[in-house]
């Protein structure tokens, strides 16, 4: 994987234009390569767009997040892969993703096959959505999805060498 990114970098460098940004990206990956991790995370973003198809029905589709404006819905997908030779323990892969700044989480969009999903209002304490409450004028009420600051997925199965899965969530750009 690192090699292929290097290849991309070289190709891009020869084009000249994207060198600075690519370098930033590249150095980030170098860090993860130095770690002794056997699990790697690959984070990507797409734009979720609602459109009316030829039959006049409303559909949703995923597009490159090339052009995003306030109000747009974004989907973040985190792919996790066991690149090592050992089996990763069941119930041990815990993925945490803070909600990006300037965005708000969209209710019920967090997804992850075989995962238990919990949320946090402060980025530290995590609980199931139903258990998250806030005080509203002295009354304890359920927290709105917009108030979530982080999402955590606990992957229940073992992750065998070479295996991969993914989790995702959607936000709206404020």
């Amino acid at each position: 994987m690192t090699l292929s990114i290097k290849d991309k970098l070289m190709r891009s460098l020869s084009r000249g234009a994207g060198a600075v940004r690519l370098f930033v990206l590249f150095s980030g990956l170098v860090l993860s390569a130095h770690a002794t991790a056997e699990v790697t995370l690959e984070n990507s973003v797409q734009k979720v767009e609602t459109f009316v198809n030829e039959s006049g029905e409303t559909e949703r589709r995923l597009l490159d997040a090339d052009s995003v404006v306030p109000g747009d819905e974004l989907r973040y997908t985190i792919q996790f892969t066991n690149n090592g030779s050992d089996v990763v323990d069941a119930n041990s892969v815990v993925i945490t993703n803070p909600i990006p700044e300037n965005t708000e989480y969209l209710n019920d969009t967090a997804f992850g096959s075989g995962t238990v999903i919990v949320y946090s209002l402060d980025g530290e304490a995590f609980a199931a959505a139903e258990a998250l409450t806030v005080m509203d004028q002295g009354v304890e009420v359920s927290a709105s999805a917009k108030e979530y600051r982080a999402i955590r997925w606990v992957f229940q199965p073992e992750l065998k060498p070479g295996e991969s899965s993914h989790v995702s969530f959607n936000v709206r750009l404020k």
Binding site: G18, T36, N43, V45, A65, V69, L173
Partner: protein, 374 residues
């Protein structure tokens, strides 16, 4: 996945191909309504990264981080023009110096320059006002002031207003009104604000022109600079430039209206010195003048004067007016001129009441005073 890279290619290769592709992608999209006046600022970077912990054979391993996705927020071009007059502005026929007021607000998420276009050939009215000049509110004094320390004449493109996100500017349209119009004739003037990015990108400022962009049309590299200083983000035409373009323009109206002043004078409450009601010397007569202004216009600088005939004597201190403008007093000193023009002037034997401007439909103003028969 790595929007950075693709974006860079877009802005470097500002090619017709990219343009066309984007246009196709967007044509059938229902865009989110730009109800949120201002969203995240154009050029900001939205970053996301995840972290994972895991264990192998019961032994916790070093947590790992994902790459960080980086997405720049593009500039949404939106503008709303509203007419800020309470209703049609009353004018005479002919008239000059008739002013309509508008507010232009940048409801997009970036800094944008707008060209202002006034159109007097609007359908659904009775006459076309003649635009004299548009003015920008620049002297912080409400209303249009013309002159050295007044508001600034708008001369496009030299002073096309540059508005930050959510910033507004007040615009005045100064017009003259043709002669020969009749009461209640209306003339509309429409003010439109078009982003100069759209004009540069589409070649037109006319929403009815075929080239005028639909919402979702994007112009690579035409938005605000990105946060990282690596270039300018894409500018995207927002929903206010929808098929009807109802929000980017607004209509103000002039209405030809004259004010009609009706004056009724009655003599009442005669009291003679003998307790009767006979008009004999010494009898006191209470005069009542009712002033009613009708019509849709304003009676400006309205003053009522009543000459007391030689046979009568005005009784000091009896003048009363139901509604007097500020600065006027129902006293008997008709002086000094220019400050208090209401009262009894012994020199001319005249009762004068200065009512200033009275709008049509205002409550009837009642003036009473007493006079004795000599």
């Amino acid at each position: 996945m790595q929007p950075l890279i693709r974006r860079r290619q877009h802005s470097v290769a500002l090619s017709a191909v990219v343009f066309r592709r984007l246009a196709i992608v967007f044509t059938s999209i229902v865009l989110p309504v730009a109800a949120h006046a201002v969203g995240t600022n154009a050029g900001l970077e939205i970053r996301n990264s995840a972290q994972a912990s895991f264990s192998v054979s019961g032994i916790a391993q070093t947590p790992v981080n994902s790459n960080s996705t980086q997405t720049f927020v593009d500039e949404l071009i939106d503008v709303v023009v509203v007419s800020t007059n309470a209703g049609p502005v009353g004018v005479s026929s002919p008239d000059v110096g008739a002013v309509l007021e508008f507010t232009v607000t940048n409801t997009g998420n970036g800094v944008e320059t707008f060209q202002l276009i006034a159109n007097v050939a609007v359908g659904g009215d009775d006459f076309n006002p003649a635009l004299t000049q548009l003015y920008l509110e620049t002297n912080s004094v409400p209303g249009l002031q013309i002159g050295a320390s007044g508001d600034t004449p708008y001369l496009s493109p030299g002073n096309d207003p540059l508005l930050a996100e959510d910033e507004s500017i007040q615009v005045y349209a100064l017009s003259s009104i043709p002669a020969g119009l009749t009461q209640n004739n209306e003339g509309a003037l429409q003010l439109r604000a078009v982003s100069t990015t759209i004009i540069a990108g589409s070649g037109t400022a006319d929403p009815s022109a075929p080239g005028f962009p639909a919402p979702g049309t994007s112009y690579a590299g035409a938005g605000d600079p990105d946060e990282a200083g690596t270039g300018n983000v894409i500018a995207v035409v927002g929903a206010t430039q929808d098929v009807n373009n109802l929000l980017i323009s607004a209509e103000g109206r002039y209405v030809v209206s004259s004010a009609v002043v009706a004056l009724t004078k009655t003599a009442s409450n005669v009291v003679d010195p003998f307790g009767g009601a006979t008009l004999v010397p010494g009898a006191v007569i209470t005069y009542t003048l009712e002033v009613e202004v009708s019509g849709t216009g304003t009676a400006e600088a309205l003053a009522i004067t009543d000459l007391i005939p030689a046979e009568l004597e005005y009784l000091a201190g009896t003048l009363a007016v139901s509604a007097l403008p500020a600065g006027e007093e129902v006293d008997d000193d008709f002086a000094p001129v220019g400050i208090d023009n209401t009262g009894f002037d012994a020199g001319t034997q005249t009762v004068t009441v200065s009512l200033s401007d009275v709008v049509g439909g205002a409550p009837v103003i009642t003036i009473t005073f007493d006079a004795a028969i000599r």
